[in-house]
């Protein structure tokens, strides 16, 4: 499918023009440029660098950072298997192997005919309907061997993905428990109308009174954040909706974006109304590409209804519009300063804070970064007022929280509860028969064992960005932590030493345990590594990357100890493995060809 040089050039020119030859749009440009041939050849890198007036290394810096950009040819069909622990529990590996066998292609490789490439990818946010895959960027849930065969046949007969049977792509919302947000009707424009009637100052007071705290994880008070951006000296401000939702096991923002987009966008407009920002940006994770077109449609609809654009609802001077940026496979881009770097076309390496984005964010202007759910919540405050909101939840955690429940339970999906709900209650509601553990807020969060199921979901007890992964009594919690260790090693941005190297060492030690070569010594090593990463890392990724391991060692030590070698220590260097090739070549297997330790 390679295009001739000339055709390629024209198409690339079109991509550059469409993006106003703005180097700040480099991530978008690379995404569109890759669509031409399915990968980004060196000439394209050079052409983009020239077209944008950048150094080649700068383009490479961005290009090499994101998992979904390819510097080598890929298959015409790129099939990526979501590899969260929940996908594994649903059997993704067997399906992967089945497909790999049918295509005759190994992991990470392209089939000899260039038709297909197969690989794994980090959690795609379909844990309640996994195992999930992405085919040329588009999500397919509920994979089975049968579906794998169906997809195999479609690919073999070269049917374009856009012509595949629609039912393959059907994604359920699985809303199991609706409360304040998911259960109420919303009339687009009503929240704006209420806020406009109050005026920006009074509305900000309501947001502060509600004590609404960010739903993206850190729990910062939204009103305070908005006020800081409003007060910062600047000629321009930005509102960013964080729709990166990369934390494995989290998928509530996906449901909000798909089924409640007018709430999300109206929340952004409200933030603009209060802070005086005129530009909104949605950072949508690459895995949610299938949401792009419907979201663009919704934006057009809102513009037509004067709920976005110039003089919103007829109020002169209230101008606000929204643009969607796509991510390209990098969990770290959920961290707000890495996200801003990515919005500016760069690799997603977190900035030094302070200054915080509210003072110096996107293009060095005051920028509010809010989670999708937080933005939905502010529409409630506009409609009900801050005081009414206060009554829900707990003292330090007002309102409701949406949980993404997956794993060993009968009814995985979306559950909205007032803050303060006990973990055990959620387990009962989702039909978890015999849970052994729950991982709350994803690999970066907390692992709770049975004795802790009485604890509450709230900032003051067990805080969460939403993930709630249930593990039944038959599960091996070492395997869970092992999966997470590889996730972090894969997703570390590489900027700071403790995380870049620490996550890699951690993953290797976990591999050693899995292979049965580790001893008590490695267990202590893991604890020590966690301390160094937790205290020294530049951002939350490295600071939490050892947490799940520390938790599971503390609470499920047996799952580790079963795998330990009955020795004090086994070296990382494996003499037998190192000699294997030489032995094969020389044909020697006699006792003198090695010094096997039979101890």
């Amino acid at each position: 499918m390679t295009k001739t040089g000339k055709a390629h050039e024209t198409e690339l020119d079109r991509v550059l023009d469409r993006n106003r030859r703005d180097r700040g749009r480099l991530v978008q440009i690379l995404r569109e440029a890759q669509a031409i041939e399915g990968w980004i050849p060196p000439e394209t890198v050079t052409a983009i660098a020239q077209g944008l007036g950048m150094a080649i290394g700068e383009v490479e810096s961005t290009l090499e950072f994101y998992s979904f950009f390819y510097r080598r040819p890929r298959g015409d069909y790129v099939v990526l298997f979501s590899d969260n622990i929940t996908d594994r529990m649903l059997g993704n590996q067997a399906i992967f192997e089945h497909m790999a066998r049918r295509f005759g292609v190994a992991r990470g490789e392209v089939s000899p005919d260039g038709l297909v490439s197969l690989d794994f990818t980090s959690c795609t946010g379909l844990c309640d309907q996994g195992p999930a895959i992405l085919v040329n960027g588009i999500a397919i849930p509920k994979m089975t061997l049968r579906r794998a065969d169906q997809i195999h046949d479609l690919i073999r007969s070269k049917v374009p993905v856009s012509d595949w049977p629609k039912d393959l792509f059907e994604i359920d919302h699985n809303i199991r428990r609706a409360d304040m947000l998911l259960g109420s009707d919303f009339m687009p424009g009503s929240a704006l109308k209420a806020a406009i009637a109050m005026g920006p100052e009074a509305f900000l007071t309501e947001v502060k009174r509600s004590n609404l705290r960010g739903r993206g994880g850190a729990g910062f008070t939204t009103g305070v954040k908005w006020e800081a951006a409003k007060k910062a000296q600047a000629d321009e401000r930005f509102i960013v909706c964080n729709a990166d939702e990369g934390e494995p096991g989290t998928f509530k923002d996906r449901v909000l974006l798909q089924f409640y987009p007018e709430r999300v966008f109206e929340g952004m407009a409200l933030a603009g109304f209060v802070t005086g920002a005129r530009h909104g940006l949605v950072y949508l994770r690459g895995e949610y590409l299938y949401l792009l077109a419907p979201l663009e449609e919704k934006l057009a609809e809102l513009r037509a209804g004067r709920l976005l654009g110039r003089a919103i609802q007829g109020v002169e001077g209230f101008d606000f519009d929204i643009e969607i940026h796509m991510g390209a496979g990098a969990y770290i881009c959920g961290e707000e300063t890495a996200l801003i770097e990515s919005l500016e076309g760069k690799a997603g390496r977190p900035r030094i804070r302070p200054p915080f984005p509210v003072v110096c964010g996107y293009r060095n202007k005051p920028t509010v970064v809010n989670n999708v759910e937080t933005l939905c919540k502010v529409t409630e405050i506009a409609l009900q007022g801050g005081a009414g909101y206060e009554g829900f939840g707990t003292k330090q955690s007002t309102g409701t929280k949406i949980l993404s429940v997956s794993g060993d339970c009968e009814r995985p999906g979306i559950y909205e509860y007032p803050f303060g709900v006990r973990v055990g209650q959620v387990l009962d509601d989702c039909g978890a028969r015999s849970p052994k553990a729950v991982q709350i807020s994803g690999p970066a969060g907390t692992c709770l064992g049975i004795r802790e199921f009485g604890r509450r979901i709230a900032f003051e007890d067990v805080p969460t960005a939403g993930a709630f992964m249930v593990f039944g009594e038959h599960r091996d919690m070492f395997a869970v932590a092992h999966n997470f260790a590889h996730f972090f090693a894969h997703e570390s941005c590489g900027f700071c030493t403790p995380c870049r190297v620490g996550t890699a060492i951690q993953a290797k030690i976990m591999d050693k345990i899995a292979a049965g070569h580790a001893t008590q010594y490695e267990m202590n090593e893991l604890q020590h590594l966690h301390d160094v990463m937790r205290t020294g890392s530049h951002c939350g990724l490295g600071q939490t990357a050892g947490g799940a391991i520390a938790d599971t060692i503390g609470k499920f030590r047996d799952d580790y100890e079963q795998k330990l070698a009955r020795k004090d220590f086994e070296p990382a260097f494996d003499l037998d493995a190192a000699l294997a090739r030489a032995r094969a070549v020389t044909g020697r297997d006699d006792a003198d060809s090695h010094m096997l330790d039979h101890a």
Binding site: A55, S61, E64, C496, T497, I505, L529, G536, A572, F573
Partner: protein
């Protein structure tokens, strides 16, 4: 209030000027805090994390946290130095550092810190990365196997030399410095031996050619004095 402000570093008062980071103030006052990616002529970078300290009980990077009156900072403690040793071990195993065969030996900040913090072994299994040498340039050799990703060359070339010869690419352990030319080779850039970036590398990754062993190993900068002693002496001389 007096006409200057102070914070406490390991119990000793340190004077500072508003706007200084804890590291800048400490170094100026003759108190060494280990650091690798810091350079007085460049903006704080905060990536090596050797300078990790505790400020009022919270961990932070001395090179990025601003000094404030009354802060209680601890740096020279068994815990923090122990963690620093681990960070050094991480850098040693991540790259390939055969010190006896390296022209930078004795002048290398990584090696000097390892001596000063008494790092006795690399401790972790080596990664043995395979990063090709770049010997294309007539005057300068690059061995990226020794690179610690401090980005000083990137910053120096961009900000001082105005050439933008280097960039950091990749992600995670695959992070690596790239040369800004279509071939990826240094010879195809306008890099020159006179560039700031040619002399800023704290380790032996960027080296001038043809100066092997002008000073014998054993008599070089950090062979004679510990890196902390030197930094402290420099401060006294400047004062």
């Amino acid at each position: 209030m007096s006409d200057y402000e102070t914070f406490l570093l390991d119990g000793r008062p340190v004077r500072f000027e508003r706007g200084q980071t804890i590291l800048e103030a400490a170094l100026a006052a003759g108190h060494y805090i280990p650091n690798l990616c810091h350079h007085p002529e460049f903006k704080p970078h905060g990536s090596c994390k050797l300078c990790t300290i505790k400020v009022n009980g919270r961990y932070g990077s001395a090179c990025t946290v601003k000094a404030m009156p009354g802060q209680e900072v601890s740096s020279d403690t068994p815990e923090l130095n122990g963690n620093r040793r681990v960070l050094l071990q991480m850098l040693f195993v991540e790259g390939s550092h055969f010190c006896p065969g390296c022209e930078k030996s004795g002048n290398c900040a990584l090696q000097a810190l390892a001596y000063d913090l008494e790092m006795l072994t690399p401790h972790y299994a080596h990664f043995y990365p395979s990063r090709p040498l770049d010997a294309s340039h007539p005057d300068v050799l690059i061995d990226f196997n020794r690179c610690i990703m401090c980005e000083l060359c990137v910053r120096a070339s961009r900000e001082v030399d105005g050439k933008n010869v280097f960039a950091l690419a990749g992600r995670g352990v695959a992070s690596h410095v790239v040369v800004n030319s279509p071939s990826g080779k240094l010879a195809d850039t306008d890099f020159a031996l006179t560039d700031k970036a040619a002399h800023i590398c704290p380790v032996g990754a960027i080296l001038p050619k043809r100066v092997g062993f002008a000073v014998p190993i054993g008599s070089r900068t950090y062979d004679v004095d510990a890196i902390s002693t030197l930094a402290e002496r420099r401060a006294t001389e400047e004062a």
